[in-house]
Structures are given as structure tokens and as C-alpha cells.
Amino acid sequence: MQFAVSLKNSIFGQHQAVAIFTSLLHILIFILPIFLLAHNLLLYESWNFRLWSFSESLGDKLTVLFLILALFFLLRRVVVPKVRALSRTSDYFVWFIIVTPFLTGFMCYRQWFDYHTVLIIHILAGELMLISITFTKLDHMIFFFLARFFIGSEFSFGRGTRTW
């Protein structure tokens, strides 16, 4: 009973779609670049060390899934009034920062347009993404772990020691 109740009151209980998609999207953001075959080959060539990686087709399908999810969130930001009211230009800008590396990576795999230029854009976009972590809202990547488990209020997972 208690589990059912707390589930119903959780974010998942309120917005099933958003909860699932955002979890999926965040997982993909991490696993896609790390376990991509192409990246691991490059890694192996330079440090002859590589991780496990997807098959090429799986990597490709996951990238498509990622792009769809990203599109969903862009539409949500534009369509849903409560999110639209909150949005600033920086939100859209960050959306592009996140999507371009995946998009250009997808295009590189498919060798659309001129492979070399798209590859360079892909590399630059990837670096821009990593750099922008500290300058944009992407720093929630870090602060999430500091805030989420330390708040003393009822919503923290941990006991919550911080009472700022």
C-alpha cells in the first residue's frame, strides 16, 4: 500500500511519459558516446584500450531514439504553457548544444553531405558540449548529486543533512 501511494505521488506517478523519456534520454546521453563502436576504435588506436561497444546498427538505432526523445522535449518546451513560460533562449541554445553532436555523429555514420566537414563539426560540437557543462544549465549534471541527496526536506532520497 505504502509503495503504491508513494509511486502515485512521485514524478513517475504524475507524468509517466516525461519521467520515462527523461530517464531514457539521460541514459542514452551517457552510454551512446561511451559505448559507441567508432569511438572505441579510435580509443583503441591511440591507447589500445577499448570498452565493450554496441554493434553499429544498435548504435544507430539508439541515436535515432535519442533524436526522437530530444525532439519530444523541444516540442514539450514550446507547446506546454508551463514550460514555455519558464523557457529562456539559453534553454533552446543548450538543446542545440546537446543535439548537434548526436545529429552530426548520426550523419557521419550515414556519410551524408561531405563526410570530412560533418566529422569536424561533430568533433567541435562534442567538445562544445563538454565545455558548456560548466557555463550553462548542464551543470545540473554535477549539482544534482550535491543537491538531491543533501536537502533535509522530505523529497531527498538520503536522510538529508543540509539545512542551508
Binding site: 500500500m1 501511494v5 502515485k8 505521488n9 533535509g152 526536506s153 538529508g160 539545512t163
Partner: protein, 231 residues
């Protein structure tokens, strides 16, 4: 602020088991802050009731609505239209709020879902402690800011009694003896003289229904038509 505790689920359930359409009215004032009757508690209670009724193969409609404070008329205005399509109301407000709701909708059956406990403070999340019994004649000036009426189990004005031992009240080891604390604090502040003379017997002013009108509003309510509340 006013602290309360949610009633056991079974108790609330038996209150409303014969009704088909129930509205749980939350209160975002003190009840939200002491985690007893805010919107989240309304949803939790409704979910628990729904799950419990499902087991009995009945499924009444149980919906929730939270207002800023149930103790102020203008925040109940919104309910005027909503209330018609329900047979019963559960109020998650404190004792004052639920009575005001019941008074507002006299032919609705209104049930409390929380037990109002005391006027108190938030020691920490989910940890509440009583501080005031609203006796209407505050003596905190003489006792270094520790209330003898609330914090002393025997309401002593010339404590401590013979039963206080190593700093706690004879009634319960976890309850500190108010008068020992008063003594320590006044001693530290060099104001021990406050409690050296016998404090005379008190006039207990909170023996009849508490109601008053501030001076600057006397004129506004002095006209004949609204004698007291519209009970």
C-alpha cells in the same frame, strides 16, 4: 503555528464509507508546513482511500482540492460551486479550518482527517514540539522566554516542583523540566530576581469562547446586522 497529525486511515475510511462522491479539501497553511494536510497529503490520503475501497470492491469518487487557508472566508469562495457535486467533504485543515468549512456548508457532511495537536514549532522535518497553550496572558517576560503554562506539566508559576530530577520532568525522562531551564537561563542572564518572589495566582482569561475585534475595526462591525458569526 498550528501542528496536527493525520488520523489513522481506517478511522477516516469508516467515516466516509457510505458516500459515493467525496471531496478532500487540503489546507496550504500550517497543515502543509507540518506535513499533515497539504496538497501532497490530500493526494496520499485519496490514493490510500481509493486503494482500500478497491479491496472492498466499491469505488467511490474521491477527489482533492487544496486552498490557501481554510480559516479565511475568501479562500473558501472557490469551493462554493465545487461542493454541490459531492455528497461529503473530508477536511485536512486544523480544528479551526474544518469548523469554518462545516459552517460554510451547513448541509454538507464534513469529516476531519487530521487531529489538531498543539501550537508549536518545527524542531526539524517531521519533528514538532508544543510551545503555547494560548492562555491569553503571556508571562514569558518573567520566565526568560520559557512558558510555565505549556512547558511545565503542572502549570507551576513558582516551580520547580519536588519531582524534577537531573533536569527532566518527573512525568517523562525526555521532557526537560521547564523550571530548571528557566532557572538556568535567568541565572545566566543575571535576572534570577524575576522568580524569587511568589508569583500570584493567575486570572485564566481563556475560559470562554475566544473572540475579539481590533479597535480600528470596532465601527465596521458594531452595526446590528452581524452579531457574532453567522452560525
Amino acid at each position: 503555528m498550528i501542528i496536527a497529525k493525520v488520523k489513522p486511515l481506517e478511522e477516516v475510511k469508516t467515516l466516509i464509507k457510505d458516500f459515493k462522491r467525496i471531496l478532500t479539501v487540503g489546507c496550504a497553511g500550517c497543515m502543509a508546513i507540518c506535513l499533515a494536510g497539504g496538497q501532497k497529503e490530500v493526494e496520499t490520503l485519496n490514493t490510500k482511500l481509493a486503494l482500500s475501497f478497491k479491496k472492498d470492491l466499491t469505488s467511490p469518487l474521491i477527489e482533492g482540492y487544496t486552498v490557501e487557508r481554510q480559516c479565511e472566508p475568501q479562500f473558501l469562495d472557490l469551493l462554493d460551486l465545487m461542493v454541490e457535486d459531492y455528497d461529503a467533504l473530508i477536511s485536512m485543515a486544523c480544528g479551526a479550518g474544518i469548523q469554518f468549512l462545516a459552517e460554510r456548508f451547513p448541509n454538507m457532511k464534513v469529516f476531519p482527517a487530521v487531529n489538531t495537536t498543539f501550537v508549536g514549532v518545527n524542531r526539524d522535518i517531521g519533528w514538532y514540539e508544543e510551545r503555547c497553550q494560548c492562555c491569553g496572558d503571556c508571562v514569558l517576560a518573567f520566565t526568560g522566554g520559557i512558558c510555565p503554562v505549556t512547558m511545565c506539566a503542572k502549570v507551576l508559576f513558582n516551580g520547580p516542583c519536588g519531582g524534577s530530577q537531573d533536569g527532566h520532568c518527573e512525568v517523562d525522562k525526555n521532557i526537560p523540566c521547564a523550571w530548571v531551564d528557566i532557572y538556568k537561563r535567568l541565572k545566566a542572564q543575571g535576572r534570577l530576581d524575576q522568580i524569587l518572589d511568589v508569583f500570584p495566582a493567575r486570572d485564566w482569561k481563556n475560559q470562554t469562547l475566544g473572540t475579539f475585534v481590533l479597535e480600528e475595526f470596532q465601527a465596521r462591525y458594531s452595526s446590528k446586522d452581524n452579531e457574532g458569526s453567522q452560525r
